[in-house]
Assembly symmetry: C2
Homo-oligomer: 411 residues x 2
């Protein structure tokens, strides 16, 4: 059986091990929730100080020109493009994931005026379905959101389908869709595809253009470490950019915002997906956070993520096999995201007890304990030590204290 | 004739004079562009450091509960409510002005299903009209945006009108609408009203509830000093909140976001106007910025703003009367915002020369020089000194250098 020393040896040999030094991680915590909120990259605080004091403070309104605030959404977008297999000029950092999904949903439906079905997943992250609902309601009910149970949507794609709207990684089970295959199935049926990348970007080797994806959006506060509620991103394939018009037609998406023309005239390219004035503080923090990805090969990152999750499954089954956990994540590592989820009837209090003991994951209703393995800053010994704490919490029944049963507002 | 000493005496007597110390203002600059981007309030940098290092850094995901990130949009909204004559629970700080206007436009039109006209201003800030255009296009052209020339819209409000959509302060001329009278005219015709407050909030004594306004939105990066692209705000009158459903139905507007229900169920009250996860860094910076308004009476602030603009008009006419400036702002101080605009054929290069000489205003096409007078941090002597610089730039024809004729990307 593998030992802690074996894990330490893996860390020694890990070509990505030094990336951990680029983060400020709290002492005594094993942070397995980077899939909810990534930790602080070291350059963020200094960058914010510079933006507040030197840019906003000293140069004030002139900063829009002299510090290039005006194209920050595009520049940060280009950096994210490098991490998700997109080209320069195909990605913007802006708004929230929800708002970006709304824009892209509307754009996609307009490109398929004779079709009325949006295919989604029943167990999708709910905001996706809420937004499709909201758009359908607003546009008078001409479209139908058809929610499919399970992970295989391809059978449901017929020639009534305008758009397949799918999360690449299931937020609960961590199941990874085959982006190339599903995109191809959608296109074969004449449908478009919109990928939600919240649990992919920054951890998986996402290859949007290799898969010929049409649209994508995601957040930057999980594996991209951009900070709580950091600006989201969106992707529109180059060949579609000038064909689509998005409904949130604010002035930053105008071809000439400072001409103050009376009628809306969309900017060429990806820029038409902008709407209002974006937070320069939030975009700058994200920009600084992305520095940790410089020179990182996403294929290497993905390989480490797969090793971490495989070892966690293995060690949990060997060391915690009698504690009643049922694996909710696939063993097929090509279909497994950067997380491992376990079902347990006492999932909620167990997770609270783990957090109190320094192993931070999260809980998702009704019974899922979710552990995220961000390959940028986690060590192989962290996997070992997390399993040690889980074992102790279960053996000692520490989770059965009253305080761990009390539900917090945010889980 | 009034002298610089008279202005210094006004500063001595100014009960708001000490507020200037709450800002970090660059040396040697007279900043008359707080109507585009407010300067840095002193507490912002320290607050960001705390949020990044102590909250995000140390407490990571737990911060949503332990630092109450979850209701930051409501808490900051309540502080803005105090400045615009709204009640607690009627305002949120969220998203961008453009996005908030879209939400409220859609909500208002849904409340008047039998009416098809939106009344707007032809010379409105263009994003307002662009968004109405975008919404009308998205919903299939059932509505009409009727743009009225000039400042008097009341004659155009008939029983076909669903919504009157109006900027309280014209961004170019500074003309202030009579909020109570126009709201009443809209209501008398059975229409709703949506006020755009970008150039009002933080400088005027806005009294939304006294005027019985229905909806409002605005930014916080101008007179509220929240930072470049700071989160915007929106207002929905209490009695309408549960009647409206907004189309950007993201999970933060759900009644129980962490239940992850399949169907959208709007939260009660103002919270249903939320959409996605907001930047905690940007909201925290705004929260800190609002500290400067503690204990400030908006009526006092408005009175100082009126004095500053009256004196600027007076001094410009006396000292720069021969330089070809034409007043574009009304002399009626009840109808004048916190800015003074002058038309001049050479407006663009004159403004660039003034900025180079430390008097920072801005230019708006085709010929408007715009000077904002933020009463929180401007002194009466600043008015005198600004006029001195303007006179010098005109007498010396300094504006006629080639570099001042080159247009920047952002004006």
């Amino acid at each position: 059986m593998i030992s802690r020393d074996d894990m330490a040896a893996l860390d020694q040999a890990d070509s990505l091990a030094l990336l951990r030094d680029k983060f400020d991680l709290p002492d005594g915590m094993i942070y397995l929730d980077g899939n909810s909120l990534g930790p602080v990259p070291k350059g963020v605080s200094a960058r914010l100080k510079e933006v507040v004091e030197a840019q906003w403070g000293n140069d004030l309104i002139k900063s829009w020109n002299v510090h290039n605030w005006m194209d920050l959404a595009q520049r940060v977008g280009d950096r994210i493009a490098n991490l998700i297999g997109a080209d320069q000029g195909e990605v913007l950092a802006c708004d929230t994931t929800s708002i970006n999904l709304f824009k892209l949903l509307a754009a996609a439906l307009e490109l398929r005026p004779d079709r009325h079905v949006i295919i989604g997943q029943a167990d999708n992250f709910p905001t996706d379905n809420y937004l499709a609902e909201g758009l359908i309601r607003l546009t008078g009910g001409r479209h139908e959101l058809r929610l499919i149970e399970g992970d295989d949507l391809t059978a449901a794609i017929d020639d009534s389908v305008a758009l397949v709207f799918l999360t690449q990684v299931d937020y609960r089970t961590g199941y990874v869709q085959d982006m190339a295959a599903v995109t191809k199935a959608a296109h074969n049926a004449g449908a478009l595809i919109l990928w939600h990348l919240c649990h992919s970007a920054g951890a998986l080797n996402v290859r949007l253009n290799a898969a010929e994806a049409d649209f994508a959006a995601g957040c930057s506060y999980k594996y991209l470490n951009g900070g709580p509620g950091a600006p989201a991103f969106l992707f529109v394939a180059k060949h579609l950019q000038d064909q689509v018009q998005q409904p949130l037609s604010g002035w930053h998406g105008h071809a000439a915002p400072f001409e103050f023309e009376r009628a809306y005239r969309p900017a060429p390219g990806i820029t038409r997906q902008l709407c209002g004035t974006l937070s320069i503080l939030a975009l700058s923090a994200l920009d600084a956070a992305l520095d940790v990805f410089d020179d990182v090969d996403m294929a290497d990152l993905r390989a480490k993520s797969q090793m971490l999750t495989a070892l966690f499954i293995d060690l949990m089954e060997k060391r915690c096999g009698s504690h009643g956990f049922t694996l909710a994540t696939t063993r097929d590592q090509t279909r497994r995201g950067s997380q491992v989820s376990w079902r347990h009837d006492m999932g909620y209090p167990i997770m609270q007890a783990l957090i109190a003991d320094g192993v931070v994951g999260d809980f998702r209703s009704p019974d899922i304990l979710r552990f995220g393995f961000a390959p940028l800053y986690l060590r192989y010994v962290d996997v070992w030590d997390a399993v040690t704490v889980i074992d102790r919490v279960m053996v000692d029944r520490r989770w059965d204290r009253p305080e761990f049963h009390q539900r917090a507002a945010v889980t």
